[in-house]
């Protein structure tokens, strides 16, 4: 094997001024290409619109995105080589995925607010649907039902969930703890409608088949809520540093007092956040309440007697059993949807604020 040393070919001097920026698209290039592709696409659809059709916003954006991806990939491949071109391609895909997910969120928000405001008036919050046909009426009975059933579900599931998480973190050893952890996992996966069926079957035994009561709805919600409370509280309790517990034991504090006076106060912000998020999760559940608590047009304060309406089921029944005029029913459905979303968002927001402002300060 012989190696022949060929003298390197004399390099053609390229008129590159700065070697560090050579072979690279300028910094602003993606934005310029984006603007250009938007312009081209708008022009394209503008020409189509000239022929009488309506200007197609969605088409414009989709085509602009396609043009942008193609142009920046090709351009980058020419200037920067295949590796950077792939990188740019993936960057636009990933950004596109995020923007794609924003479409339903924005569309949903706009729709719910615009349609919901039509009946978002005092009458909606002060009247029930008793003997209302057509226009008018309100969702007071549904709001009361939602508060009663969610409140009862919280009363059942917060003590059980919190004590279970305390058991798992502070006491649990061996087979029972492992079993409970596993079962909580299983419970997390129960479909909401199955929880409704369970509550229905449970109360059908006591009060005969076909009974639907508020307490059955509350039990269904509690089945869904307990695992969420356990999971989040357990996570928060595990975050409490062991040094705090050991310091308390060293001072001779009994275990239960250590938990009540040291562990819980340290983690109470996180636990509150978890509980509020779990309430926000179950307050929007429709299927279990439809099965277990049924629906009604009248006010019902009695958890143990008679059907009880709730906001999500109100949305569904207003939509599903439209009378005349249909718009009155749809407007009520959207107004209830707006109310529901506002409640859920408020719970979420308060939960985050609690987590932020009442978190224990570990810094020194």
């Amino acid at each position: 094997m012989t190696t022949t040393l060929t003298p390197p070919e004399p390099r053609v001097a390229t008129p590159v001024s700065n070697s560090l920026t050579a072979g690279k698209l300028p910094n602003g290039a993606p934005w310029m290409i984006l603007a250009a592709s938007l312009l081209v696409s708008a022009g394209l659809f503008g020409v189509i619109a000239l022929s009488g059709a309506e200007f197609n916003w969605v088409g414009t954006l989709v085509v602009a995105a396609l043009i942008y991806v193609v142009v920046i990939t090709v351009l980058s491949r020419i200037v920067e080589g295949s590796r950077r071109s792939t990188d740019r391609f993936v960057t636009s895909l990933v950004t596109g995925a995020f923007l794609l997910a924003m479409i339903p969120l924005v569309s949903l928000t706009i729709t719910v607010v615009t349609f919901g405001l039509a009946r978002f008036d005092p009458e909606f919050f002060t009247y029930s649907m008793r003997s209302v046909t057509g226009e008018g009426g309100g969702a007071l009975h549904a709001i009361v039902g939602t508060l009663l059933m969610t409140g009862t579900a919280a009363l059942i599931s917060i003590p059980i969930g919190l004590m279970t998480s305390i058991y798992l973190v502070e006491y649990g050893r061996g087979r029972l703890a492992r079993g409970i952890t596993f079962l909580v996992d299983v419970m997390t996966g129960i479909p909401s409608i199955v929880a409704g069926l369970f509550a229905y079957a449970l109360f059908a035994i006591f009060w005969g088949p076909g009974t639907r009561t508020g307490i059955a709805g509350a039990v269904a919600l509690a089945v869904l809520m307990i695992p969420v409370v356990v999971r989040s509280s357990e996570e928060m309790l595990r975050l409490v540093p062991n040094e705090l517990r050991e310091a308390a034991y060293a001072l001779g504090v009994p275990k239960w007092l250590t938990i009540v006076k040291v562990v819980l106060p340290t983690s109470i912000a996180g636990i509150t956040t978890g509980i509020m998020l779990s309430i926000a999760r179950v307050i929007g559940e429709t299927a279990p309440l439809l099965i277990a608590a049924g629906f009604t047009n009248s006010m019902n304060y009695d958890m143990t007697e008679g059907r009880m309406q709730s906001l999500p089921v109100f949305v569904y029944t207003q939509y599903a059993n439209q009378g005349t005029p249909a718009s009155a029913y749809l407007d009520r459905a959207w107004a209830a949807a707006l109310t529901l979303i506002l409640i859920v968002m408020a719970l979420n927001l308060i939960a985050r604020l609690v987590a932020r402002f009442f978190a224990p300060k570990f810094g020194r």
Partner: protein
């Protein structure tokens, strides 16, 4: 030679006893609840298994012929939803963890989480009022131009309330779940791996391909399976959006669509009576078993992979 001193037993105070027992009691309540759920569902389901078209009016021949198409529809809709949601979710998770500016990342994550907070009945209302009319022209175009492809064969649905629309709504509902888990996993990638890849001259995508994705794979898989479990059990959005006929078909765009177990229960239960109630509860039991199997699969994947991952 002296025997080892007997271990000093901790003093048992009444407060301790009460507290630890109530903790054990609460833990056992979970056990009792689940046992109760299983027992009640099974007991109520037994009459349905022997029911025929004569005893239960919603059955044609027997229970299994009734539940078969529903199981198919449930799995088909959930699989479609997962197929749509998974790539988008991984993209969003990567965008939030590795592409978006640091300052914005947590805010963007919160915005995606907002999607998870929207109640399913609102999604149903949106799907039927906004999404279905919006995609109907697209479906018409697909059937006209790509009708030779078996999935897209016509005749096109006039309302847009097809299984594909239901799957899109389901996908929107499970995207935040898959995104949240994948994002957490991506953020746990050892920074040293990432920096090593970048120091060797990798571009951002090459760094993600060689360091982030291999590390996050078990997390992505379990997130996907959890999302699938959620999509299987989702009720109201499907019940409202889908105009189901109960047929077994893979066609996405026609007005002949399979129904899902959960949606079927929600639609039929309020009017059900007698043995029909037991039939519906039995379908619920089957849904419970399917989701349980799916979730068990997710846990098994996580447990199997966690021994080898760098996370511990």
């Amino acid at each position: 030679m002296s025997t080892a001193p007997a271990p000093i037993r901790a003093k048992q105070r009444p407060g301790d006893r009460v507290f630890s027992r109530s903790a054990v009691f609460a833990g056992s309540m979970i056990l009792v609840t689940l046992a109760a759920v299983a027992t009640f569902l099974i007991v109520q389901s037994v009459p349905a298994l022997f029911a025929t078209g004569e005893t239960a009016s919603i059955l044609d021949t027997n229970f299994w012929a009734y539940v078969g198409p529903l199981v198919f529809g449930t799995i088909w809709a959930a699989a479609l939803a997962l197929l749509l949601a998974l790539p988008v979710s991984i993209g969003i998770a990567l965008f939030i963890s590795h592409y978006a500016p640091r300052r914005l990342a947590s805010v963007l994550g919160y915005i995606v989480d907002l999607l998870a907070a929207v109640p399913s009945v609102v999604f149903g209302l949106w799907g039927i009022g906004v999404l279905a009319p919006a995609v109907q022209p697209l479906y018409t175009w697909l059937v006209d131009n790509l009708g030779w492809f078996p999935l897209f064969s016509g005749p096109v649905s006039g309302t847009g309330r097809t299984i594909l629309t239901a799957a899109v709504v389901l996908a929107v509902m499970i995207i935040p779940i898959i995104t949240a888990i994948s994002r957490e996993v991506f953020l746990q990638t050892p920074v040293l791996h990432e920096e090593a890849a970048l120091a060797l001259g990798a571009t951002r995508w090459e760094m993600i391909r060689t360091a982030v994705l291999p590390f996050g794979r078990p997390g992505i898989i379990s997130a996907a399976v959890l999302g699938l479990g959620r999509a299987l059990g989702e009720t109201m959005a499907v019940a409202m959006v889908l105009s189901a006929t109960g047929a077994v078909t893979f066609q996405l765009l026609t007005s002949v669509n399979p129904s899902t177990i959960a949606a079927n229960i929600a639609l039929s239960f309020p009017e059900a009576y007698g043995i029909n109630v037991n039939v519906l509860i039995a379908t619920g039991l089957i849904l419970f078993i399917v989701t349980f199997a799916v979730n068990a699969l997710a846990r098994w994947i996580v447990a199997r992979r966690s021994e080898f991952s760098g996370a511990n």
